[in-house]
């Protein structure tokens, strides 16, 4: 049951044949080699497979690939700058020691991209709610929140400076 799918992935137009039974996580991983998209539960309960579709975080494990027709998908492979420079969010995660085993990291970074992109301040409690769709067993979320908090603040400071 193959179907031709057109979508933009990390800024690049893709045209590929997918099985209609495939979830987006499998298509991204197996057909496009974007293995940052992790599978931890396959039922939308861990958040490791989170990608952004048109800027919104979704669990790509329970999203049929054919639904992405005409849409724009972002994975962390798409965050680096043209010369390989890291995005401010990636840098913050590194510097705040928000990364341990790294399995939840790509998904949470994408949720952070969505959060930061709202261009508004959040309380720490609001941030807790916004990242609550990601399970992490290593960090207790402490340094992840520090990193996201910092990204939100730095982004607003940049906006104000401009």
């Amino acid at each position: 049951m193959l179907k031709i799918l057109h979508m933009t992935v990390n800024g690049k137009a893709e045209e590929l044949a997918v099985d209609v039974r495939e979830c987006l996580a499998d298509t991204l991983r197996e057909r496009l080699g974007l293995t940052s998209v992790k599978k931890g539960c396959e039922v939308g309960e861990c958040g490791a497979c989170t990608v952004l579709i048109d800027g919104k975080a979704v669990n790509s494990c329970c999203y049929l690939s054919v639904w992405a027709e005409g849409h724009s998908v972002l994975t962390v492979e798409g965050l680096k700058g043209p010369n390989g420079e890291l995005s401010p969010i990636q840098t913050a995660f590194i510097e705040e020691a928000a990364v341990q085993c790294g399995f939840c990291t790509p998904g949470i970074i994408l949720t952070a991209v969505e959060i930061v992109g709202q261009n508004r301040p959040y309380t720490r409690e609001e941030l807790r709610k916004l990242i609550s769709g990601h399970l992490c067993r290593c960090t207790g979320y402490e340094n992840i929140l520090n990193a996201v908090e910092r990204c939100v603040a730095e982004n607003l400071a940049r906006q104000n400076a401009d």
């Binding site: 099985d19 039974r21 939308g44 309960e45 919104k56 054919v66 639904w67 709610k129």
Partner: protein
């Protein structure tokens, strides 16, 4: 890969109705957060799907001339929470669907799916019961409206016919204007949770804000289907805002609900939570309505 035997992407509601009509085994799918998970579990292995995903005509939120709010069944939970049309009018619903699953699930799951899966734990259900929402269905014979009070026929069962598509949820002005409400969800954790018990309390106060003019209390997971508490509502009508009423509300709802014992929670525990949530939701609703509860 999901064990999907047949897949059809509908191009319109009419197309979906026709596709469902052609295949007695077909089932609709919208956000996918229930259907796909159940397919993986094996419950719908080999399923035939008619996809409503992405249908623009189901994603509209309208405020009609008569004041009715019409929410397309394909709206995601996060669309509803963020809708400027709904905020300030049906805040309790906006807040309730903001407690479904996780942020990602709220970007995927739809109000229509939450209503059509017919489960008592659906976070939108108690609010929709309290707002006396009407459900708009499109079928081969045309459109019809079903009051939500007549929607549920049993656990996971509704009056929706096999060929019918839920197109919208309608809330009339007489059911939200002048009301303030609060939905409290009780779970073992604060996110990614299936409701252990959910309670929606909607109140309209008298003009001087000293007494209840209209009160509606609805529960999820307090019975096989979402339920209202008509006797409690009647008892509260016209009563002054005082602690005696708060206390009585908690005791009264216990006579109208039938939670069950399960490994997730005992009946007695759910009764205790229902009593307490109902009181707290009432206090909050009164506060939102500008009232004050006196000793």
């Amino acid at each position: 890969m999901y064990d999907i035997e047949q897949y059809y992407q509908a191009q319109s509601v009419a197309d979906a109705v026709a596709a469902l009509g052609r295949d007695p085994a077909a089932m609709p799918i919208a956000g996918g957060t229930d259907v796909l998970i159940q397919t993986r579990e094996g419950r719908h292995a080999g399923c035939h799907l008619v996809s409503l995903h992405g249908l623009g005509e189901l994603q509209d939120i309208r405020w009609e001339a008569d004041g009715a709010l019409v929410i397309g069944s394909g709206c995601t939970f996060s669309q509803i929470t963020r809708s400027p049309l709904l905020q300030g009018r049906v805040d309790m619903l906006c807040q309730a669907v903001d407690q479904v699953g996780s942020p990602q699930i709220r970007n995927m799951g739809t109000l229509g799916g939450n209503v059509c899966n017919g489960v008592t734990s659906a976070d939108s259900a108690p609010s929709l019961m309290a707002y006396e929402a009407e459900l708009e269905l499109q079928g081969p014979q045309g459109a019809r409206r079903v009051p939500i009070g007549q929607w549920y026929t049993g656990p996971g069962k509704t009056v929706r016919g096999h060929e019918e598509v839920l197109t919208a949820v309608r809330i009339s002005p007489q059911n939200y204007e002048g009301f303030s409400g609060c939905y409290l969800k009780y779970g073992k954790r604060e996110a990614m949770e299936i409701s252990t018990l959910g309670c929606a309390v909607l109140v309209k106060l008298t003009a001087d804000r000293s007494a209840v003019e209209d009160l509606r209390a609805a529960f999820g997971v307090a019975a096989p289907t979402p339920v209202r508490c008509p006797r409690t509502e009647a008892m509260a009508s016209g009563r002054a805002l005082d602690e005696a009423l708060v206390k009585e509300l908690g005791q009264s709802v216990l006579t109208e609900i039938q939670p069950r014992d399960s490994w997730r929670a005992s009946r007695d525990f759910r009764l205790q939570i229902a009593k307490e949530l109902c009181r707290r939701a009432f206090r909050r609703a009164v506060e939102l309505a500008g009232g004050e509860i006196r000793a």
